[in-house]
């Protein structure tokens, strides 16, 4: 008797589940069918694996995804299998599974976004020797892997110039993500930029140790602003979102106060139109789109490293905020430095070691 009751309860629960499931199916069946009919002819398909920041990190991963979407739009692809898509990683252990899954799904080119994926891309590319892979921010020496690198220091240098010319307190902040070579390039470029434009300005450098901790970014920013910094540059992925929030809050409290933040990777003006001075853009989107197009045309640079700098429009500075008091001076200075960098007159340091011997003269 007892058992029968339990059995009934269980089967009721199961039945409810199936019923609910069934009504869901009839709802969405039709649109799903039409979308599947579209991709019958085999188009060149691309996909990417995000690192732990996720595809909506407002910076690095998002930029790559925007590049893929753009490539998809230009080539009439649809999101999903046979078109373009992404797989999100929540821990380091997900990288190889995600890369492998996408290669198995038949995507022609699979991107690993971020240096963290180095080992995974190296390994999977050997197992899936017929698929093409690409990695951003690191070099993998395999014949079917294309490596994409950036001269982040050049964009950061320009951001440093802008920060130096805008600061009133001669106190500037830098928030880094993890202490890794990529972020070191940002840091040394930025420090060099400040040094070149205003040697007496002081830069407070702090690392948050993470790319996905906005609250930590907020805490560091709050401390920097309260000790006198008025311009802060971040190279910390989603951690930097805390900086914009903090800057926006301070500005709201006291609109007359000079509070500026500098974004990274993509033009982050949308994160705070009143406080974002400019952004050191690393056009992952441009690079991803460029490489996808090359691969589609059969010119996949396997085994090679492509470096995108100011010269290739792979990095750059976003437009200076029109509310900035020194906008004209900054614009002028930035233009001059861009010329100098492009012509090779100065070489922006890419490591802290090189920074020691750097001189803008």
């Amino acid at each position: 008797m007892k058992k029968r009751k339990i059995g009934m309860a269980l089967s009721l629960v199961l039945a409810a589940g199936t019923l609910l499931g069934a009504c869901g199916k009839s709802d969405t069946n039709k649109p799903a069918d039409t979308s599947k009919g579209g991709d019958k002819e085999k188009a060149f398909s691309v996909a990417m694996v995000t690192d732990v920041g996720g595809v909506d990190d407002k910076s690095f991963n998002q930029s790559a995804w925007e590049g893929l979407k753009d490539f998809g739009k230009d080539n009439g692809l649809k999101k999903g299998k046979g078109g373009f898509d992404y797989a999100q990683s929540t821990s380091d252990a997900d990288y190889s599974t995600n890369l492998n899954t996408l290669a198995r799904q038949g995507f022609d080119l699979v991107y690993g976004i971020g240096f963290l994926m180095h080992a995974a891309v190296d390994e999977i590319s050997q197992q899936q020797a017929k698929s093409k892979f690409a990695i951003v921010d690191d070099e993998v020496k395999q014949p079917n892997v294309a490596s994409i690198m950036f001269k982040e220091q050049e964009a950061a240098f320009l951001a440093g110039v802008a920060a130096a010319l805008q600061t009133k307190t001669n106190h500037i902040g830098f928030i880094g993500g993890m202490k890794i070579p990529v972020i070191e390039r940002f840091e040394s470029g930025f420090l060099a930029g400040v040094k070149a434009a205003k040697p007496e300005a002081k830069v407070d450098v702090q690392y948050s140790g993470a790319f996905d901790k906005a609250e930590l970014g907020g805490t560091i920013a709050s401390k920097m602003y309260s000790t006198g910094a008025d311009v802060i540059f971040h190279a910390a992925g989603a951690t930097g979102n805390g900086l914009f929030k903090e800057a926006g809050d301070l500005k709201k409290k006291d609109p007359s106060r000079e509070i500026w933040a500098i974004g990274v990777d993509r033009d982050q003006n949308d994160m705070g139109p009143d406080v974002v001075l400019t952004s050191a853009m690393k056009r992952v989107d441009v690079a991803v789109k460029d490489l996808s197009t090359k691969a589609k045309d059969g010119k996949f640079p396997g085994g090679q490293t492509t470096t995108y700098g100011l010269q290739e429009d792979g990095v750059g500075l976003a437009p200076i905020n029109s509310k900035a008091s020194n906008k004209d001076a900054i614009d002028k200075a930035v233009k001059e430095w861009v010329e100098k960098i492009k012509s090779g007159a100065i070489k922006v340091p890419g490591t802290l070691e090189e920074l020691k011997t750097f001189s803008a003269k």
């Binding site: 589940g17 969405t28 992404y86 252990a93």
Partner: protein, 348 residues
């Protein structure tokens, strides 16, 4: 209804409720739950490759679950599994990189190093609890952060091989096997699952079949009674934390020697230790229960990776379902009351 049946039914009902509420959430947000669950299933068992990945994911979950469950049986809440996991990982990789020994010595040595590291990391909160009655939850949480940042520092300054990670461990310390990888068409599955299963057995044997285990459980049931019966409560508290930490350390060794073969600077917690809490909770803190619940969490985790691609459902939904399952397990009291109602009516 027998107690045994009820203790098996409660988690099963919790899982079903979690799935049902998950279905409702999917319906409300306009996703197709049948597609989603099919993708989830295929993503975990649809291909031998994915099954390999599931087993790889399950391995550390079992061990982390055992670590939490072991401490729990002695009445301690070890939130520090994550930290012990991280130091175990580093210790195993360090031994794997630094020495060059024959496999029969090297591999066990690396695993023992991870055990010792995890055990030592858990010894501190155990000692503080036994000596000064400092609550282990607070100490272990703080020691998670200490572990994370200390290990990151060591990797960055002492073991760095470029790109902020250690070098690869020697083949002689590796748990990987070309045969297993061949079998599962290049998954990252490794021999660690055997160690995890062995550990399940060790935990069961230790707790249920030995005098020491009886003492440990007695302390968990009632410290005063155990003390009155002449058992050393303090000694047992420290011992249980050390064993718990050793399990967590082995879990770290699985990642270091099997899944990755190296250790990279961690941007944040891996989540394995925290998932271990959920695994232990769902598994009712028994060895067999932990095994099955780790299997469930592992397949949910791996299956979820396929959901966005196959069904267009965000994988965060799986996190919601896991959270719901944990919620229903935690509120198992309600389920128990309902079950009792049913059985009482049956008697009438």
């Amino acid at each position: 209804m027998s107690k045994r049946l009820r203790s098996i039914l409660t988690p099963i009902i919790a899982v079903l409720l979690g799935i049902i509420v998950g279905t409702i959430i999917m319906l409300v947000s306009g996703y197709n739950p049948v597609d989603a669950y099919t993708a989830l299933w295929n993503g975990a068992f649809g291909d031998v490759y994915y099954t390999g990945e599931v087993i790889r994911q399950v391995t550390p979950y079992i061990l982390a679950g055992l670590a939490v469950a072991f401490a729990f049986r002695v009445g301690l809440f070890n939130i520090g599994v994550e930290g012990q996991f991280i130091v175990g990982w580093l210790a195993a990789v360090w031994v794997g990189v630094a020495f060059d020994l024959p496999k029969v010595i090297h591999l066990p040595l690396a695993i023992i190093a991870a055990m010792v590291a995890g055990g030592l990391w858990a010894f501190i909160p155990g000692l503080l609890k036994a000596r000064f009655r400092v609550h282990e939850v607070i100490v272990t949480i703080m020691m998670n952060y200490t572990a994370l940042h200390t290990v990151n520092y060591i990797i960055r300054t002492k073991l760095n091989q470029g790109s902020a990670k250690t070098g690869m461990i020697h083949e002689s310390a590796s748990l990987r096997s070309p045969w297993l990888q061949e079998l599962t068409t290049h998954s990252t599955m490794h021999w660690g699952i055997m160690i995890a299963i062995a550990c399940c057995f060790i935990m069961w044997f230790l707790l249920e079949k030995t005098t020491r285990g009886f003492e440990l459980r007695a302390v968990g049931f009632n410290q005063d009674a155990a003390h009155y019966a002449g058992m050393s409560v303090n000694k047992n508290i420290i011992l249980s934390m050390v064993i718990s930490g050793a399990f967590a350390g082995i879990a770290g060794a699985m990642e270091g020697l099997g899944t990755f073969g190296y250790m990279a600077v961690q941007g944040g917690f891996t989540g394995v230790g925290f998932n271990g809490i959920a695994v232990a909770l769902l598994g009712g803190n028994t060895a067999l229960g932990v095994f099955f619940s780790a299997l469930l969490f592992g397949s949910l985790k791996i299956g979820a990776l396929s959901m966005p691609l196959e069904a267009g459902v965000p994988k965060e939904l799986v996190d919601i379902i896991i959270a719901l399952i944990v919620f229903f397990v935690a509120s198992s009291y309600i389920i128990r009351v309902v079950l009792d109602r049913f059985s009482k009516k049956g008697v009438k």
